[in-house]
Amino acid sequence: MAENTKYIDTKETSPSPKDFKSDQEVRWCPGCGNHAIMNAIQKALPHMGIPREKFAFISGIGCSSRFPYYMNTYGFHGIHGRATAIASGTKTANPDLSVWQITGDGDSMAIGGNHLIHAVRRNVDINIVIFNNEIYGLTKGQYSPTSKLGAKTKSSPYGTIENPFHPGELIIGAQGRFFARSVDTNMNLNQEIFLEAEKHKGTSVVEIAQNCVIYNDKTHAEITNKKYKEDRQIVLRHGEPMIFGKNRDKGIVLEGLKLKVVELGKDGYTEDDLLVHDATLKDPGIHLMLANMQYPNYPVAVGVIRAVKDETYERKLENQIRQVKEQSEFGCVDDLLHSGNTWEVK
């Protein structure tokens, strides 16, 4: 299977996955996609070469946002929608921390939408993992900003009349330098993506199609169902041609200004005609098209879609502080207080 061809083979450099589990009972519903995502994170962390105390998991409100309690790292369970801002402050204050924001589609794209796009714009080096189940779980089943148009939920009994956000489009549109997508159950790919997200300096956004067994079961089934997932998902890897399908007989080409799905060996298309994925392109055009591919016209792209190097907010700030300090006439607060116009009363 294409998505299993890569497997993490780097050595564990810090405590083992079980050392990242806290003593708290995990209270997600049986069958919830969150369990698998957490397992993948806990498996990936030891490969990052970062001591446990340097991890900070920060969340807002929602089912996924209980995540920090289950991690034996530093953790901060915040308030609704504000995890991005809390995480931005934490990383800016201490750039040595590996800051992870765990969030849901409601938390980050509705109440927290403003913070999300601005963190991405600033390029604060935080790793944002969006558990996208297209529903509000903790508040028991209202539609979210990613719910499909027409979705019938408790707050849209006749179907939603709102267009959904596509996280990839939103993030890349906000000048996002890193965007990856995956599916909750794909343990190997997820570990790979988390490692890439950590390595990337700048805001990394990882969208994970997550299944809510209670309020929105099988919402992603048309692309995740075992029977046809290989035909409906394409795993993008930097430097590799865009091939997919159970028999690896389909691919993506660029025709004119549009992406097109072709069958290899048909109409004269060969592997050489296929687009080769370049996640590092500064121009967001192709990444945006790839992120926006939707079933049934296209396979849905998973993997690291975009990873563009750029300076981070917190490093720029540190540099500015260093520069201003070098030129400063002040050594201490007394100097500051006596600066400018003063006079002596005798």
């Binding site: 953790g75 369970h77 308030i79 204050a93």
Partner: protein, 620 residues
Amino acid sequence: MDKKQDVIEREEVVVRFAGDSGDGMQLTGTLFSDTSAFLGNDLSTFPDYPSEIRAPQGTIGGVSGFQVHFGHRQVNTPGDYADVLVAMNPAALKANAKWVKSGGTIILDEDSFTPRGLKKAGYETNDPIKEDHLEEFNIIKAPITTLTKEALKNLDLDQKSILRSKNMFALGMVYWLFERPLKYTEQFFERKFENQPKIIEANKRVLEAGYHYAETVELLTPTYKISPAEIEKGTYRNIDGNKATAWGLIAASEKSDLELFCGSYPITPASEILHELALRRDFGVKTFQAEDEIAGICTALGASFAGSLAVTTTSGPGLALKSEAIGLAIMTELPIIIVDVQRGGPSTGLPTKPEQSDLTQALYGRNGESPLVVLAATTPSNCFHYAFTAAKIALEHMVPVILLTDGFLANGSEPWKIPQMSDYPNIKPPIVPRGEKEWMPYARDPEKLARTWAIAGTPGYEHRIGGLEKDELTGSVSHDPQNHEKMVYLREEKVNRVVRDVPNQQVEGSQEGDLLLVGWGGTYGHLKTALDELRKEEALKIGLAQFNYIKPLPANTGDIFNRFDKILVCELNRGQFMDYLRMNHPKFNYLKYNKIQGQPFTTIEIKEHVKKLVEVNHYG
């Protein structure tokens, strides 16, 4: 004529500069204040400007004013009424004539008193002096615009730049009137326009032209002489409240050895704190201009989690937005300072006008039982001390602190005797020592009840905090009913114990007697002046207690109230502090005096009110 014969020796003088909001009145007033301060006068200033950047020219709504009160004795207020008013246009005259002392001097730019200008200002005739019954004033009509143009005619400047410098002509006239030297202002031009020699020249020429005009026309009699103030020895500077607040926070950063982080969103009249902190990268200050108020405090809270001295600055509407995050700070027991520079409300209210109506919001404006510490600064310069103190309390007690200032303190300035940082205490937050065994996130210091602070990144103390109710010791999420009740009382008690670090409330004036004036925050100057004058003029047995510590209240608050027959609580709101006092010390009978006009008290109105109350006591 011999000028000296007409010099009047005065204790103190109030000058008010008024013009269109584009006329540079704030700068003019500031330059005049600076020069007076260098000459050793004590002073107090009050900028009064509209919230629009450029309200329609020539209208009352667009009038910008700057009042400075200076003298050779202690000056506590910007003064109620002006001895001299400079009115750059008819609207400025219309809006400000009522603030001139009877018999005072009014300087007008007669060039702007055109039929059109008069109409715009709302005058119905072409004689504003008669129409506003100003005949008894010493009116000086000077062709300021014409003479400014004349002074600059050979300088090859565009019309706009020429007109922009007419405020310096008016300033020059006032300098002559008060025998002030021009050199401090000229030095200012040289610094400010370092790379624009033509602008330096233009400003100097106009300033001097104004000065010489005043000297030659012999209209400006009498002139006033103000001797230097009799003030404590030391090194002084002028400072406004916002700068003092920023510097107090930087001082706390030095004394706590913690990096200062300010997450903030611009809002009038608090923005200058952010500006000043942003300038101080050389002190390692990290300012984060957030996308909104909520992000402002949340980034600060994240920074607190990471071990910074965390600050957010705002005004009333911003404080409202921050309230959920303040609750989170209370719940997680992370130190943070929230500076609220109050303005008139509710909603957007009066963005540039002072009011004290956020007190209730500061004390209670959150969901749940959510106690925190509330402090208030009382003068522009002591914003430094209370910003420092707010940081010290927040860090040592692991509690959020709201520091209340207001637009009056924020923009007002006064000479400040520069303190020595060696006189300030160190700040010692309860950061966990490395390698401690058996540590629990919510274990507390038995005295202060502050939890210890394990800063994210410290090995061995990995833990989780959050907004959900937690177990008393372990910090694990707990919905146990008994535990919640216990935690509610614990958090309240923790704040109450800050009282041990609160100095006793001082009373100025009589220590016991007929009436105690009670105030808090920025009304100090006016209440103090009223107190001093009433005691001197009427020999009343009255005192003044101006509160800096609001929650918790100083331990001796009740004792003080016991010593007076009447307690008069004066506030720029409907009585929020009085309600709070009545709740905390219910056995006293409180009277209140309130003003809600977006303007400070005047000393006169307080005096009149007190006299009425005390007369009733004596003869009633």
